[in-house]
């Protein structure tokens, strides 16, 4: 799992690359929680290079969403592949998260 964070005007873009499962999600969680300590007004997570995500990945993003809301910020998920979008739909969370097609759209 590769994780890169790029500061942008008014927030942070985090790009994840690789599969998110029980093995990799603790690292994703730790990194995102670390970035949230900087209290970005908007955390944009680019998932376009994530081909697989299980419920531990979803749980990580649920926790981030709760954290971001406490900080009165925003979390946007970008570039979900169709299979992963379906997992969010199965979990009835597709409407709970702000999901955008591109990073540009998420920054708008």
């Amino acid at each position: 799992m590769d994780i890169t964070a790029t500061p942008v005007a008014g927030g942070m873009v985090v790009t994840l690359q690789g599969e998110i499962d029980l093995y990799s999600s603790p690292r994703v969680r730790e990194r995102l929680l670390g970035l949230l300590k900087e209290r970005p007004s908007r955390l944009i997570v680019d998932l376009s290079a994530v081909p697989y995500m299980d419920s531990s990945g979803i749980a990580t993003f649920v926790e981030m969403l709760q954290q971001v809301r406490k900080q009165q910020g925003a979390l946007r998920l970008v570039g979900l592949q169709a299979n992963i979008r379906e997992v969010f739909r199965f979990a009835r969370l597709e409407q709970v998260f702000a999901i955008c097609d591109t990073v540009d759209a998420a920054m708008a």
Partner: protein, 136 residues
């Protein structure tokens, strides 16, 4: 193609999950499942293994046995472990409030056509999941 099966025994550790997913994926594709169905089945087996690692063994050491059987127009995945008894009853519904966790068993139930849990007299948890060919 006649009935066939394979069995793999692996450590109940998260780092093995990618290898198990690869095995499930290839088995499904060889059996003739469509790619999107293969993805869902892979997810379901992964979620079941994750539950065993996290809840049955509570991250203690142990092994998981996965039997994959193909026959009668279906694939059957049976997972066995010797951890704490784990019943999927009451775990099948999605959480009512927004919280991290509690999604694994509902996802499995949505994907698989049959899901059965039993605790064997020998002290094993046994989770049997069936996916029929031709179903989404």
């Amino acid at each position: 193609m006649g009935p066939s099966s394979l069995t793999v025994i692996f450590p109940a550790e998260a780092r093995w999950l990618a290898a198990i997913r690869a095995l499930v994926e290839q088995s499904c594709l060889l059996t003739g499942f469509a790619e999107e169905v293969t993805y869902r089945v892979k997810l379901a087996v992964d979620e079941a293994c994750t539950n065993i690692i996290r809840h049955s063994y509570s991250s203690r050491s142990g092994t998981i046995t996965l039997d994959v059987e193909v026959g009668n127009g279906a694939m059957t995945f049976t997972l066995r472990d010797r951890g704490k008894p784990f019943s999927p009853e009451g775990q099948s519904d999605l959480p009512r409030e927004l919280k991290p966790g509690g999604l694994g068993m509902p996802l499995i139930q949505q994907v698989m056509d049959e899901v059965e849990y039993s605790r064997t007299p020998g002290g094993e948890n046994l989770l049997r999941m069936v996916k029929r060919l031709g179903r989404n």
